[in-house]
Symmetry: C2
């Protein structure tokens, strides 16, 4: 439910990932091991260096809130932008810039606070909300138990 179908239809994507935390680094390694071209942007050198050996893409050290950093990441050529910084406001800003300025076909952003979901959706940004995913998981777990009674 946190994901809306997109429009990119190639088999191999050029993917720019903003934010190299737990989620960003994991998804970066996964996507690069699947043969996609992946660039990861983070302002923390340690985070970038902690990428697993499976990751065969590029890293860019810099502030993703600066246009030059996103230009260096060639966001204008990207099929997909995954905006996964730890701050909702930063993510809204970067996602909007990806969508409007760089015309990235698919922009998927992490949203921490479910109250912010609407802001993202109204700009056509696809969203991943771990809080809501976890709520769904817990509901599902309790319903499964209930069904057995």
């Amino acid at each position: 439910m946190a994901i809306i179908k997109g429009t990119v239809k190639k088999k191999e994507y050029y993917i720019v990932i903003i934010g190299c935390g737990r989620l960003g680094s994991r998804i970066a390694s996964l996507l690069s091991s699947q043969g996609h071209s992946v660039v990861v942007v983070d302002r923390d050198e340690d985070a970038l260096q902690a990428l697993s050996y499976e990751f065969s893409g590029f890293t860019i050290l810099g502030e993703a809130t600066e246009l030059d950093t996103l230009k260096n990441a060639k966001l204008d050529k990207a099929d997909i932008a995954l905006v996964l910084s730890p701050d909702d406001n930063t993510n809204i800003m970067i996602a909007l810039v990806a969508k409007e300025y760089f015309s990235t076909p698919r922009v998927i952003a992490r949203v921490y606070d479910p109250n912010n979901l609407e802001v993202f959706s109204q700009f056509g940004i696809e969203i991943i909300c771990p809080t809501l995913l976890a709520v769904e998981s817990i509901k599902e777990a309790l319903e499964i138990a209930g069904d057995e009674s």
Copy 2:
């Protein structure tokens, strides 16, 4: 995948929720609106006061790492403990105490760092890992697009 089937088979549960952050408060309101008896424990009074009007359960202000707090929450009577503090180590500790000391039939804990999953699983604690849920969501979103090509 982040949830293992449990053994509680009643229709209405007595549920103790540790941690009243975004996830805890949401799930507390949801479960209490479904007619379950819910007690929420947090050390932050503001967090407890921010619970929505839908929440009709009890709140306990206190450190969940102290046995007395968990006794006050009547964890020994609980069908389910949801351990949702923002710290994996705290969650391991509380989940273990729920399982072993209070014999809570189902203990579900949030795990932030996927590297900690094994520790929880080996003690029979069910886990919710928002990072892995988000990875799955992103994979799914990209596969859906791929299938359309």
